[in-house]
Symmetry: C2
Subunit: 229 residues, 2 copies
DNA sequence: TCAAAAGTGTTCTGGATACACCCATGT
DNA sequence: ACATGGGTGTATCCAGAACACTTTTGA
């Protein structure tokens, strides 16, 4: 199969920065490259966009193929198109970032045929291509977005404690938060539903579980809401 | 000249949403298409990315070629890649938005060989391709960004009055602002330099002129600043 | 009874908002 | 003199920040 064009075209790829939360650590999912260039180096999952495939679909497909993940929160990040970012030829990459509930997926990704592993975001090896830069931009975006959009919940299980939520925000923002103020503000949004359950199997007082009220958020979002942590 | 590839590739373009301020109105620069598809319809300036050209460079080149603009503030917006957004073939477009000091460029753009004109952003004709959507996203972005980055100054001449600045913010945010509070806040940033000049040729008390202190802003930006209007 | 984390209230401060009048200038 | 926009100060309110102790539970 071969096609020809009047003018040369850049190749188009998608790359995904997949974030997960492991206890109190923010992690990113990387895969080890099996082919040149950068064979053996860790990289972001990604690949070529097909000609009959929307960008978001390409990102989801690559994510599924390379890491087994599906049904995750996914949002476009930025498009990287510097000359020379791929040593073979001109490649423009539309980067996405994804947020996954890590509990479900931890093992799967690590035992896939393709070698994949979670790394603490501040302790990654030198990545292939310009993926270090992409990761940095994704972290910046996450840090900014989490302050005015309740996307953090995408990283938590459906039922969570306020302490888990606080640790999440602390991990993303990279600074400690005051417990009382945090709880006041989190509950003050009115977007947390108090459940009649507590966490299990802990060696201390069990914390109450909450869930995120997505419906309510979506309703608020319609008519000029405002969410902040 | 013809090239061939193993797999078909989407074509890659850039499109630019160029904003300018005309008195108190926010305007966008459009060009009339001379070719099919959408011949005769208004569209955003843009065109194909060359294979040896960075994305930003492509955006600047197209802007210069189609509108005569150069040296403007330009930032990547979002990449649009839905299927069918171009009726001919698969085209992915990296959209940019630009901010220009309209005074300098008003005539030039309108008298270029190619027909180009400024339209009030809330009174544009139906645009070619998905350019209505791109424009909407750009407006959203501008509205958000102007609140925490002093990019508004890119739309004003180097010397401006506080009333001009206020009208600019009112135009972008689409709501009136209190004069006293606005001045307090604007001056409170410490980023405005009071000049020993006043505006000329007005039929009332002449307002003092200010300039934006870009150096100071860049210094602040380095070590965790914070700018808000 | 001890360890470990859950849970809770108040004070203070600073920025956001709301609001109305006098001033300078050109016609 | 008058019309036009320039320029200024204060009171109120609310959200954010700072801060420490008691409670519950399992080991």
């Amino acid at each position: 199969m071969s096609v020809s064009y009047e003018h040369p075209r850049p190749a188009l790829t998608v790359d995904c920065v997949v974030f997960g939360l492991d206890e109190a650590d923010l992690k990113v999912l990387l895969i080890r490259r099996e082919l040149d260039p950068f064979r053996g180096r860790w990289a972001l999952p990604g690949g070529f966009v097909r000609v009959e495939e929307a960008l978001d679909d390409a990102a989801r497909r690559e994510l599924a193929e390379e890491t087994g993940l599906s049904g995750v929160f996914l949002e476009q990040l930025y498009t990287f198109g510097a000359l020379g970012r791929d040593p073979r030829e001109r490649v423009v990459s539309v980067a996405y970032y994804a947020l996954v509930k890590l509990g479900d997926h931890r093992v799967k990704a690590a035992t896939d045929a393709r070698e994949a592993a979670w790394f603490a975001v501040d302790d990654t090896p030198a990545l292939a291509f310009d993926h270090d830069e992409i990761l940095a931009v994704a972290l910046e975006r996450l840090k900014g977005k989490v302050r005015y959009r309740p996307i953090g919940f995408e990283l938590l299980p459906p039922k969570f404690t306020l302490s888990q939520l606080q640790r999440l925000y602390e991990a993303i923002l990279e600074r400690p938060l005051d417990k009382r103020n945090f709880r006041k503000k989190a509950l003050g949004t009115g977007l947390l539903v108090e459940l009649d359950e507590v966490e299990q199997d802990v060696a201390h007082r069990a914390a109450r579980l909450y869930r995120f009220d997505r419906r309510k958020y979506e309703r608020l979002e319609k008519d000029g809401f405002s969410f902040e942590i």
